[in-house]
Subunit: 333 residues, 2 copies
C-alpha cells in the first residue's frame, strides 16, 4: 500500500502539503497538479485508520435494530444509506435479536468500535442506558420508538393519529364493535396506537369494551392467540384493528384456517407493509409508515450532531402515516 509519503516524494513536496491537498485546503496550482499525478500513478488511497487515529473520526455510523430481517427496519436502513453513503460514511449494522441484553451488548460494541454516531431502534421503551455513550460524545438518534426518561433526538411516527385515522375509518363504515390487537404495554408505539384507538372511540361516543382490547406480543404467536381470543368472544367484534405487521399477517392466517372471509365475515385493518397486503383479495386496509423517510431524517439529524451542531436538542420528529382503505373493512350500511 502506498502512503502519503510516497506521494510527497514523487510529487516533490512535503507530506504536509499532500495532507492539505487531501483535506481540501488551498494549495498552489502547480503542486496540486503534481500531487494529483502522483496519486494517480501510485494508485494512492489514504488509510482510514491512520486518519482516524489522528482525528478521532471513523466515518462510520452504527445502526442498531431489533432484528435485521424485519422489513420495516431494512426500509429504514435504505433511507439511512441514501443520506450517509454519498458522504462516504459507512454503516455498521447490528441486530439486538429482539433482546434488551443483545441491545446493551451491541451498544457497547459500537462504542468500542468508535463509531461517529448511532441510530437506534430500541427493543423496548421501558429502559435504555446510553449514558456511557452520550458521555463519550457519540450522538444517538432514536427511531420508531421513544424511551421513557431518555432525552435523545428521535424520529418516530405519529402513531396516535395513525391509529386514530384507521379506527375512525372503521367507525365510518358503520362498525361499533371494534377489537384491537394492541402490542405489549411496555412498547411505546403500542401504547400510542392504543391511545389512538381509545380516542377515536371516545370521539365517536362508542363505549369502550375491555374485552375488545387484547394485548399481544408483537410476533407470530402473539397475533395468532390474540385473534383467536377476539374471535371466541361471545359478542365478538365485527372489525379488528391489528397494530403491527406480524400480528396482522398472523390474524389473516387464523382467519383463513377458520374459513372466515376477510371483509365479509370479519373486517380487518392492519399496520405496515402495504405492498404485500395489497396482494390479497380483498387487499388489506393498512396504516402505512414512511419507513424510508424515518431513515433519511434520522440520518440527517445524526449528521448534524456529528458535525457538532447541537441546536434544538432534543429534536423529536413525528412523521405522519398514511391510511390505505380497502374492502377488507366491510361497509355495514
Amino acid at each position: 500500500m502506498k502512503t502519503i509519503k510516497d506521494v510527497a516524494k514523487l510529487a516533490d513536496v512535503s507530506v504536509g502539503t499532500v495532507s492539505r491537498y487531501l483535506n481540501g485546503y488551498k494549495i498552489k496550482e502547480e503542486n496540486r497538479k503534481k500531487i494529483e499525478e502522483a496519486i494517480e500513478s501510485l494508485q494512492f488511497t489514504s488509510n482510514p485508520m491512520a486518519r482516524g487515529l489522528r482525528t478521532n473520526k471513523t466515518f462510520t455510523v452504527g445502526v442498531l435494530i431489533p432484528r435485521i430481517s424485519d422489513i420495516f427496519c431494512t426500509q429504514v436502513i435504505e433511507g439511512i444509506e441514501e443520506v450517509l453513503n454519498p458522504l462516504n460514511y459507512g454503516i455498521v449494522i447490528c441486530s439486538a435479536n429482539d433482546s434488551l441484553q443483545g441491545q446493551t451488548e451491541k451498544l457497547a460494541y459500537l462504542k468500542n468500535k468508535c463509531v461517529d454516531g448511532i441510530i437506534l431502534m430500541p427493543v423496548t421503551s421501558a429502559e435504555l442506558d446510553v449514558t456511557g455513550i452520550v458521555d463519550s460524545g457519540i450522538p444517538v438518534v432514536l427511531i420508531d420508538r421513544l424511551v421513557k426518561d431518555c432525552e435523545l433526538d428521535a424520529v418516530v411516527c405519529d402513531n396516535v393519529n395513525g391509529a386514530y385515522s384507521a379506527v375512525e375509518m372503521i367507525i365510518n363504515k358503520g362498525h361499533q364493535k371494534i377489537g384491537i390487537i394492541a402490542g405489549p404495554q411496555e412498547i411505546y408505539t403500542a401504547q400510542e396506537r392504543l391511545t389512538g384507538y381509545l380516542r377515536a372511540l371516545e370521539d365517536y361516543n362508542i363505549e369502550i369494551n375491555e374485552a375488545y382490547i387484547v394485548h399481544a406480543q408483537y410476533n407470530k404467536t402473539g397475533g395468532i392467540d390474540a385473534f383467536r381470543q377476539l374471535m371466541s368472544l361471545p359478542d365478538r367484534p365485527t372489525a379488528i384493528f391489528s397494530t403491527n405487521y406480524p400480528t396482522t399477517v398472523n390474524s389473516m392466517k387464523v382467519m383463513m384456517e377458520q374459513g372466515l372471509r376477510m371483509g365479509e365475515d370479519i373486517s380487518l385493518c392492519g399496520y405496515d407493509q402495504t405492498e404485500l397486503f395489497q396482494m390479497f383479495n380483498p387487499p388489506v386496509s393498512v396504516v402505512v409508515q414512511p419507513s424510508r423517510e424515518i431513515g433519511i431524517n434520522a440520518a440527517e439529524i445524526l449528521l448534524k450532531r456529528i458535525n457538532g451542531d447541537y441546536s434544538r436538542f432534543p429534536q423529536i420528529q413525528r412523521l405522519k402515516t398514511q391510511l390505505i382503505v380497502t374492502d377488507s373493512v366491510k361497509t355495514l350500511f
Copy 2:
C-alpha cells in the same frame, strides 16, 4: 479516553506487557491481576484504529448486496451476523442499488475502508472485476450467484435441481403445458433454473414449447408482463413456474386482477419466501432457499480466508433447496 499507557502506569508495568495481556499472551499472574484492576478502574477499552494501523486489520467485513430491503438478502445477513458477531467482527452493509455501477463503486469504497474481507452477492453474473481487491489481499466470497470467468469462493443454491424438483412435481400432478417465467439471461441463478426446467421436461419426454419460456426482469413489471404474455397465448399453459420472488408475487397480482383462481384456473409454483406465500389461499407452492445457511457458510469460508487459510480455493458450495407442495398446483387426474 484512556490509553494503554495509562493502564501501564497504573499497573506499574510497561505498555508492552499490557499489550501482551490484551492479546492473550501469557504474563505473570501478579501482573495480570494488576493490569485487570487498572483496566477496570480506568474503564479502558483499546482503540481499534490504533490497533488497526499497526496490524492492518479492521475486524470489519463488508457485505455488498443488490438491495437492502430484499428479504432474501437480509436473511443471508442474519446468518452472516450469527457467525461474525461472536468473534467481534463488524459488518458494514452496502447496497449496489441493483446497478453494476453501484456495485463497482461500493467495492472500491469497501476496499478503501480496509475491510478484512467481503461477502458479495453480485448484481449480474456477466461481469465482475475484483482483481484490485483480490490483489490487495482482501478475500471475497460470492453468494447466491456465480460470475463468469471469476475464480472465487462461493456459496450458492443448487438452482438446477431446485427448479427441476418444482417442475417435476408439476408434471407429476398431470400438467404438460408448463410455462416458465425465467429471469434475465445474464443472471446465473436464472440460467440454472431454466436449465432445471428444461431438464425436467426432457426427462419426462415433454416437448419444449419456446412460447412457454418467457424471459423477464426479476422485478415487478417483469413479473406482470411475463405473466400476461403467458396468459394471452392461444394455447396457454395450465401451470406456471415463476422463478423468483418478485415475479411470483406479481404474477399473483395479475392473476387476481384477471379473476383467475390460483390452483383452479391456473396453477402456480414460485420461488423463495415461503412464510408469506403460505398465507394465501391456497398457499403457494415454492422452492425455498436456505438463505440463513448461505450466510453462515459464506461467513465461515470468509473467516478461513481472512485467517490465511487458502486451502481448497476456490471453494464452491451448493446448498440444496426445499420444495413446498400445495394446492396452488392443481392435480389434473
